[in-house]
């Protein structure tokens, strides 16, 4: 499934991620297969809208359609149609039939194995759905909570399901490299089960606290090192890089004073500019585009928005979600082109039937 691709971003269907994905150049989208954790879309009445916005953003390409358990845990209001439809996708009846039916109803949706940490995950029934849909499957596990990862791998191999992608997620943190040995161990066991599987090593070192770091700072991105370390230990061709797209995991709302911050992403780090002395987004952006670290020549939306902000255009960064979308957009573009630096600078794209 991933042959010819370079990158598997793991994303939630939040405003920032969707906008960041939607605005990527087609050339970058062609290098990735994202996996989205679905949740009801903003104030939309129907859950279908959430799938629509993902597919508008991804274009006519394969993507993993996962479910956002965090939103399930928030106990969405069952009186709202979208929330009810969302809850139904988690029902275990008939091997998660509701979920697999949703996946089957769109031609580019790839299922993500359900309930990997549950005792009664109905492997056989789920495999029936996967065989019926016939687009392969993602199996994702946290490195510290592998659940039935290896048992599922064995069953998939027994059923000759070769186009399975295993995602070993090392989670968020600045100590990601501690997970490398464990991730390597699981990857090696999967390779031993079938050398036809594809394996993604993912994690994120993007921080969640920027206090005390000053008005400008650089944060190394360790997830690439994690991937390289596992690749060094597991000599396997079909090992792919994944990450959380420089996002943070969802959290319950926390009342806090918002401090404007603009981040840009490079291939192995992020450069962040934080408001000091009540600087506005416009003033922060003006600092960004005069900084030696500023490229400004990639030709992508994220950079365009920083310049638009510095020049006080009507459409500009005015809130954290848009600032996050800018960072995520540049990050996704950088990681998709990590081994293809020639593709980083985007030029003219011929218009065809799309307009």
């Amino acid at each position: 499934m991933l042959k010819g691709r370079e990158y598997v971003p793991l994303l939630y269907t939040r405003l920032a991620e969707i906008r960041a994905m939607r605005e990527l150049p087609e050339s970058s989208k062609n290098l990735m297969v994202p996996v989205f954790k679905l949740r009801p879309w903003l104030n939309s009445k129907e859950l279908d809208r959430a799938v629509e916005v993902v597919e508008e953003a991804v274009g006519n390409r394969l993507y993993g359609l996962d479910l956002d358990e965090f939103k399930l845990n928030l106990n969405p209001d069952p009186s709202k149609t979208a929330a009810t439809q969302f809850l139904q996708l988690f029902e275990k009846a008939e091997g998660y039939k509701n979920y697999y039916d949703l996946v089957a109803s769109g031609p580019n949706r790839v299922p993500v194995f359900r309930g990997i940490n549950d005792a009664d995950l109905e492997i056989e029934k789920q495999i029936e759905h996967i065989l019926h849909i016939d687009r392969g499957v993602f199996v994702r596990a946290k490195v510290g909570e592998p659940g039935s990862l290896l048992e599922i791998a064995r069953k998939l191999a027994e059923n000759d399901i070769d186009n399975a992608v295993f995602i070993i997620d090392c989670g968020w943190g600045r100590d990601l490299l501690v997970s490398a040995a464990l991730a390597s161990q699981f990857a090696q066991r999967l390779v031993n089960t079938s050398d036809k599987f594809e394996i993604v090593i993912a994690g994120s070192s993007f921080p969640d606290d920027f206090k005390g770091l000053g008005e400008r700072f650089t944060i190394p991105a360790i997830e690439r090192q994690l991937y390289f370390e596992v690749r060094r230990q597991v000599n396997f061709d079909a090992l792919y890089y994944g990450d959380w797209g420089s996002t943070r995991p969802p959290t319950d709302p926390i009342p806090m004073k918002h401090v404007p911050r603009i981040d840009t992403a490079r291939s192995t780090d992020w450069v962040c500019w934080r408001s000091e002395d009540d600087e506005t987004y416009v003033e922060v952006a003006q600092r960004v585009i005069t900084d030696p670290a500023w490229d400004g020549k990639l030709g992508i939306w994220g950079e365009y928005m920083v310049v638009a902000t510095a020049e006080e255009e009507a459409v500009r960064i005015k809130a954290p979600a848009m600032a996050a979308a800018v960072r995520v957009n540049i990050h996704l573009h950088q990681q998709a082109n990590f081994d293809n630096p020639g593709g980083l600078h985007v030029g003219d794209e011929a218009v065809g039937d799309d307009l």
Binding site: G299, I300, W301, V307, E311, D348, D353, D354, L355
Partner: protein
């Protein structure tokens, strides 16, 4: 001025909505690119040695699709109406102001509006959605024609 051949091409493409602007431009001999233009610039038309018509259009790849469509229609209109004035190129800002006169820009805007929102299609859709409120009608028609709601609202006289 618009030649008979161009008028015929235009009429044929305007009979189906949303109007396929890329195909229309191509049949008129124009090259069209989505380009990383700077903020504040929506599009431009300039001479090209490789385009059959002798002109290429660039539209800002970072603006919304609806905005890109109107910009493309606007630049096509400059080609149809003002190609003898284009010389080294015409760059349109986000307000569709350029080195051409206001009169020429107004002309291009009027024709662009007719290209993305053909009269016959507008009449047909107005009948189709006659049972809806003005706001709903604007929303539905904008979606069918792939134009912005403000542009649709102006067209419907709101």
């Amino acid at each position: 001025m618009i030649t008979d051949t161009q008028r015929s091409i235009l009429q044929r493409h305007l009979s189906e909505v949303p109007v396929k602007l890329g195909a229309l431009a191509s049949e008129l001999g124009l090259e069209v690119f989505k380009s990383p233009l700077r903020p504040g610039i929506s599009g431009l038309i300039e001479p090209s040695h490789s385009a059959p018509s002798g002109f290429r259009i660039k539209i800002n790849r970072h603006e919304s699709v609806e905005r890109q469509r109107f910009t493309l229609a606007h630049e096509i209109s400059h080609f149809l109406l003002h190609r003898e004035l284009i010389r080294n190129g015409v760059i349109d800002d986000t307000m569709y102001r350029s080195n051409l006169s206001s009169r020429h820009e107004i002309e291009a805007n009027k024709l662009a509006s007719k290209i993305v929102m053909p009269e016959a299609a507008v009449d047909m859709l107005r009948r189709k959605y006659s049972g809806h409120s003005f706001e709903e009608m604007t929303h539905l028609m904008a979606k069918d024609l792939r134009v912005s709601e403000p542009a649709m609202r102006i067209k419907l006289g709101g």
